[in-house]
Symmetry: C2
Subunit: 356 residues, 2 copies
C-alpha cells in the first residue's frame, strides 16, 4: 500500500480535486483516460494525446496478453516505450473482457478459463497471473482480477461474484512484486447500494493503492448508476483515488464526479470519432447528416482544437462519406479535446468551490 | 501560355533541376506529388505533409467531381481551403479514371459518357467541362482531358486516341478562364517512341503551361517506359515542366528523372503504407512478417523521420496485425518522407553535377 499516492486538494459535495502520483508523473484529477485497447488510442499519435492535454491513458490487459503478448512488451522496455507514451498508464485487469466472452469462458474460485477470440486457443487467467502480466506490461497502475455480473443478476450470484472478486483482489495484492507500480482493487456489488458499500469496505480492508468501481453503466438506469457510485464512494477511504470504469458520456462523467469518482475511462470519444459523431457543448453532432454538406463552419465554434481551427463540417462530412482515415483522426482529436477540457473545467470549478 | 512558369537551374544528362512558379508558391523540381484522390492524402494531415517537406500534392478531378462535387469545393473557397492545404495543388483531368471504368463508359469525339461508380448515374465529361470543373476546384495546375489506351493497343487505336487527346487539349486550352491557373496538356502515343515524339510536338504546338506524360507504367517493360519517356521529353520544349504520371517505385522515378521528367505522382507510398510495407534505402520492408515481431529497431536506421525516431518495427507490426489506424499513419508518414528525401537528394546531385 502506498497511502501517499493520492491527495485531495479541494471538495465540492462528494466531488474532489486531487493529485495522483505515479512512476511516470502526477495526474491532476478529475481526469479522463482515453482507451488504448491494443496499446494505441485508436487513430491518435501519443504526441497528439500530449498536445490535447491527456495526462493518463488506459490499455487492456486482456488484449495485450493475447497480442502481442506481455513478454514482447516487456522486452520492448515496457508499454510506455512500446507505445512511445511517456506519461502515466493504467491497465485494466482483463476481467471485463473475459466475462464478456459469452459461452467462451468458465470461471472457478481459482480463476477463469476462456477461448481466445484471436486464435481459438484455450487460455487461463488467475488472480496472480493478471498481476504478473501487468508487471511485464509495466503500467503505472495495475488492477486486480474481478468477476463482473450482468445487470439483471440475482443477489445470490452478485454476492458470490463480489466475494470472489474480493478474494482475487487479496491474492493479487499478495502476489505483487514490481516496485513503483500501483495496484487498484475493484469494487463490485451489482445493483444493490448495500452490497456496493459492503464490497467497498471489504476491498478497502485489503489495502490497495486505489479503487476501481466496476460493473456499472451496463444498462441500468442512470439514477441508479449515480446512487450505486455514491454508495461505493461513501464507503471508501477518502485518501485514495477512485476510477469509475467505462463511464461514459460527458453528462455521465459529471454525474460520476458528483458521486465521488476521480478517474474515468470510456471508448466513447474515440469510437464516436470514428463514426463521424462529434461531442460539443451543444450535444452530439452527426457529421454524416446531409445538413452539413455545405456547412463551412467548424464542428464547434466555441472549441479551439486543431480540428476546429482548420477544418469545416463540410470537409469532415466529405471525408467520412468517402471513408477516409482523416475523418476518424479529425473527429477523434476533437472529441478527446472536448473530454479533456471538460475535466479541466470541472477541476477548476472544484478548486474554486463553484462545481455543482 | 505562361512561359515563365518554369525555369531550369541545372542539368545532368536529360535530368533537370528547376523551379515551377504557381499561384501558391514555388515548387523546386524534381518533386514528388503525394496523391490525395478524394481531397486528402490518405491517413495524413496537411500539417504532416508540410512537416515532411511535401511541396505539391495531387487530387483527382474525377473523384472530386462525383463527391462532394466541384460546386461544394468552390463554395468552400477552393480545394486549398477545403483541404486546409496552403501549398500548390495539381488536379488530373479525370481521363485516366474514366477510361479505367471498363464497360461503364462510351467515348466519342466530343467527350466521354460514363456511369458513376458511386451512384450508378450517367455522367459526361467534355474537354471544356473538365476545365470548368478544375476552375471550380481551383488547383494551381489543371490538366486537359485525354484518352489513354491500354498497353497492347493497335497503332490505329493509339493514333486515334492520341489525335483525340490533342484535339481535346486544344479545346481545353481554348476554354480556359481562370487567371493564375496553369494548364498542362497530356502527351500520349502508346508504346511507340515515334508516336510519343509526334504527340509531344503536337501538344507543344498548342502552348500549354506544362506537360503531363500519360499512359505509361501500365504493364510495359521498364526499359520501354524509359525509352518512351525520353522520346517524349526530347520532343518537348526545354522551358516547361514535365509530369510523368503515375510513376512509381523509387527506382522508376529515378529512371523517369534520367529520361527528362520533373514531376512525379503515385499512390504507392501511401498505399504501401496502409499495407504495412515500408520503403527504405535497402528496399521494401514488409512489416507483417513474423521476423519483426521482436525487432525493436526503427523501420530504417538511416532515416530520421518521426516514425523512425519514435516507433519500432515490432510495435508497427503489432499495430498492423491489430488493424490499428496508427499503423497506416506511421508507415505512410515514413514512406512519404523517404520519397521526399529521394527527390531532394536527386535535386542536390543535379545542382552539384553528380547525378547519374
Amino acid at each position: 500500500m502506498t497511502p501517499e499516492a493520492f491527495s485531495i486538494e479541494a471538495r465540492c459535495g462528494r466531488a474532489r480535486a486531487g493529485r495522483l502520483r505515479t512512476a511516470h508523473g502526477e495526474v491532476l484529477t478529475p481526469a479522463f483516460m482515453p482507451v488504448g485497447t491494443q496499446g494505441t488510442v485508436k487513430a491518435m499519435l501519443p504526441e497528439e494525446l500530449a498536445e490535447i492535454g491527456v495526462q493518463i491513458a488506459l490499455a487492456n490487459t486482456y488484449h495485450l496478453h493475447l497480442r502481442p503478448g506481455e513478454e514482447v512488451v516487456r522486452r520492448a522496455g515496457g508499454l510506455h516505450a512500446f507505445m512511445h507514451w511517456p506519461r502515466p498508464l493504467l491497465t485494466d485487469s482483463g476481467g471485463y473482457q473475459v466475462f464478456s466472452l459469452q459461452g467462451l469462458r468458465k470461471v472457478d474460485d481459482d480463476g477463469v478459463t476462456f477461448i481466445s477470440h484471436l486464435d481459438g486457443g484455450t487460455r487461463r487467467l488467475t488472480p496472480e497471473s493478471v498481476i504478473r502480466i501487468q508487471e511485464a506490461l509495466g503500467p503505472d497502475i495495475a488492477v486486480t482480477l474481478d468477476e463482473p455480473v450482468p445487470c439483471g443478476a440475482e443477489e445470490e450470484q452478485v454476492r458470490r461474484a463480489m466475494e470472489r472478486s474480493r478474494e482475487w483482489a487479496r491474492r493479487g495484492l499478495a502476489a505483487r512484486g514490481r516496485e513503483g507500480q500501483l495496484i487498484f482493487g475493484i469494487v463490485q456489488g451489482g445493483m444493490s447500494p448495500l452490497l456496493r458499500a459492503e464490497s467497498a469496505q471489504q476491498t478497502a480492508e485489503l489495502g490497495p493503492d486505489g479503487f476501481c468501481i466496476g460493473g456499472l453503466s451496463i444498462g441500468e438506469p442512470k439514477d441508479l448508476t449515480v446512487e450505486l457510485t455514491a454508495a461505493a464512494c461513501d464507503a471508501l477511504p477518502e485518501n485514495h483515488a477512485r476510477h469509475l470504469m467505462g463511464v461514459g458520456y460527458p453528462e455521465d462523467i459529471l454525474d460520476g464526479l458528483r458521486s465521488g469518482a476521480d478517474l474515468f475511462d470510456c471508448v466513447l470519444p474515440t469510437r464516436l470519432g470514428r463514426n463521424g459523431s462529434a461531442v460539443t457543448n451543444e450535444g452530439r453532432l452527426n457529421l454524416d447528416a446531409a445538413q452539413y454538406a455545405e456547412d463551412f463552419g467548424p464542428i464547434d465554434p466555441a472549441c479551439d482544437c486543431a480540428t476546429c481551427r482548420g477544418y469545416s463540417r463540410a470537409y469532415i462530412r466529405h471525408l467520412y462519406k468517402a471513408k477516409e482515415i482523416l475523418a476518424a483522426r479529425l473527429v477523434t482529436y476533437h472529441n478527446l479535446w472536448a473530454y479533456t477540457r471538460l475535466m479541466e473545467r470541472a477541476r477548476r470549478e472544484i478548486l474554486e468551490g463553484t462545481f455543482v
